[in-house]
Symmetry: C2
Subunit: 416 residues, 2 copies
């Protein structure tokens, strides 16, 4: 069973909005055993949308369209679907009642333009949207000489997800044309793509034709994604897990974790396993390390909190960094990183203290300490140390890279 995804919206093509719907839909469909062979993004233009649906309908078993169902004049997907099916739009009182109800609940009067959201192409099933005003649309059967299915959902991610979960996934679960696909991702850190390939060449050579391997590099890390196609879920699971076990054994500490075990999660598991708590003293990362740690549900088990010591006076008054060291070595220095880690460990009564101090840019660099210079610190009961890292990127990627380096330093310490 194959699917095409069509995302509609000028904002996606001019780069105002990053298209996250394709990734979410791709993951859901893939997990359900559907092979997503194409994702197309087009503008809010009725003939273009109509033509794209027709082209996908001719080759895919399922066409998912997102976007263009809002109440405003630039939303024309409803009309395009009606055009593709060659039917008129008809009024649905129950949809209008739902829209009116939503406005009442928020104690607002319903604008006239929302009436357009109660119109649907004749013959389409209208799919209830409990979290928004635009319903989804479903059409399945023979049309233009081919049997396929069409799902149309709003472009707002939360509404799209809800309608897909409520109405598409149950339909897929009862389809019998599905094969089983299992994906597994191995997160590695600190080893380049080419060397990774060399290291595991003999293991990869043992993969059979029903298995595919991809290397996905991103800012100092490489993810390995292994996909197995098999007759049963058990067989597919067995294949990917056996591969992962061999790769993990070969790569050792280069492997951060599997699937959801991203760096934050891996660090959390190690801390819990050892019964240790951690606290952060962040300067250049501005709170990002704490943010990442607390993205993991249950982080309160091991994360006590932290101090964002963005200005120097906070470094000295709250964390106890020596004013003399700040003056002589500068805030971006080995000693300051060490004193910050020690200070936050003591202040928050944690087993481990972590720190970051650096220059994220675009301003603030000097010949001796250019943008991207970062000292990261670590302190525990046995002492403290700091490492110099260099990241030559833009401000936000620099913050990301520095926070990753701090979390990876913690991970390696916990692995020893």
């Amino acid at each position: 069973m194959t699917a095409h995804i069509i995302t509609v919206g000028d904002e996606l093509l001019i780069g105002q909005v990053i298209n996250t719907n394709v990734a979410w839909l791709g993951e859901q469909l893939t997990l359900a055993g559907v092979d997503v062979t194409e994702a197309l993004t087009i503008s809010d233009d009725q003939p273009v949308i109509e033509a794209a649906i027709a082209r996908s309908w001719a080759v895919a078993d399922l066409v998912v369209v997102t976007g263009g169902l809002g109440p405003t004049h630039d939303d024309v997907t409803r009309e395009a679907v009606a055009g593709f099916l060659g039917v008129p739009l008809v009024f649905h009182q129950d949809v209008l009642d739902h829209v009116a109800h939503l406005f009442e609940r928020f104690k607002r009067t319903m604008p006239e333009s929302n009436r357009s959201q109660a119109m649907a192409p004749l013959g389409c099933e209208v799919l209830h949207n409990p979290v928004g005003t635009a319903p989804g649309l479903w059409f399945a059967g023979e049309h233009r000489g081919r049997k396929s299915a069409l799902l149309v959902v709003p472009g707002v991610p939360r509404e799209m997800k809800r309608i897909v979960a409520d109405h598409l996934m149950p339909r897929l679960a009862t389809s019998d044309s599905l094969r089983t696909i299992k994906h597994l991702t191995i997160h590695t850190l600190g080893i380049g793509e080419s060397h990774l390939q060399e290291q595991i060449r003999d293991i990869v050579a043992t993969l059979d034709p029903g298995q595919r391997l991809a290397y996905l590099p991103d800012m100092g890390s490489v993810r390995l994604r292994i996909s197995s196609f098999a007759k049963t879920p058990e067989a597919a699971n067995r294949q990917v897990e056996s591969f992962a076990a061999r790769v993990q054994e070969r790569l050792g500490a280069f492997v951060v974790g599997i699937d959801q075990d991203v760096l934050e999660q891996a660090v959390g598991k190690l801390l819990m396993a050892r019964g240790l708590t951690v606290a952060t003293a962040e300067s250049c990362t501005g709170g990002l390390i704490g943010d990442r740690i607390t993205n993991i549900s249950g982080a309160s088990e091991y994360f006590k909190g932290g101090v964002i010591a963005y200005c120097n006076s906070v470094k000295s008054t709250v964390l106890g960094v020596s004013e003399e060291v700040l003056r002589h070595e500068g805030a971006v220095s080995e000693q300051v990183a060490i004193q910050m880690a020690l200070g936050v460990r003591r202040l928050l009564d944690a087993d481990i203290g972590l720190s970051s101090t650096g220059i994220m840019g675009p301003g603030g660099g000097t010949p001796e300490k250019p943008v991207g210079t970062v000292w990261i610190g670590y302190a525990d009961a046995s002492g403290a140390e700091a490492q110099l890292i260099e990241t030559r990127r833009e401000r936000l990627p620099n913050k990301q890279y520095a926070s990753m380096a701090v979390l990876d330093l913690l991970r390696k310490k916990l692995l020893v």
Copy 2:
């Protein structure tokens, strides 16, 4: 001048990686006056890539392909381009020298597989990649009965961006078939899409056919994007700025800012204009508010830092929140939010203190305080207050929403 973007990679279709290249390329091309009419994502499959290039070449004036240029076996874009052009791959010694040089610089030996990156389709110009091993490819001219241009770049965003900036943008700047497009985005907060439309209906009615307006809703905010097509940059600028001025006057405080003036930036400008400093006391947002504030270059002018008071003992020992209040009211309460804001303001000697304390889920909810219950606090020289907000989303969107609410509370206080 029209362009198609083709992004190659299984990881994009199965939802493992969110496609950010399309948004970046779309923005760059649009700013250069190129109309991006389609973005297509396909898998690492040579015949599929070849067919997609052929289809886009037949209709667009520029085809940009990203991805599939790595050294590993799943990278087949080079071969697909050679197939499309009907030419063999030829070896480039200068590219191999560059790759070898990069490996030397990092004191690593070059794996044999990297040799494939020195192969390029005959007749393509090879574009130097100073930040990675895979060069870009450029072909422009008559082929298959049509004149067009093809740019092929690596999928790694940093490498893609560098080659586009170095080699594509200068070529576009000298092209004379470009019209002028100007986009402007108005960020609004606290007003729904339909009501927004009603409020500015008469202003929108004055737009001429060369102007387009789009409503882009996202988690409590709506962005209005106005696009003007005109003969000169000055005329296009004038049109969008006149529209923005009228909308701002009508909507007042619902408008956060224009273009790059997202919430963090708008707040920063207000703080600087008033010469005030701010400090954060974060529980449920875990550092995200500080992270967002410090995403703005120059934040050190007004951001002193903060305390991430994730566990209750940090709330009391570091921020001075009363243990009795914590016991009787619970950590997620009006009084705790107020005491956190007061405490961090005092501790960090800032003009304004902000705070967040809530339940982000999926665990931790109770019937009285379900997941999504958040108290946010504000303190300044004249006193302190807290507000209850409710966000019924997943953990990460809950953190995003709560941090937005805190920053918007600060913005509104600064506007008074």
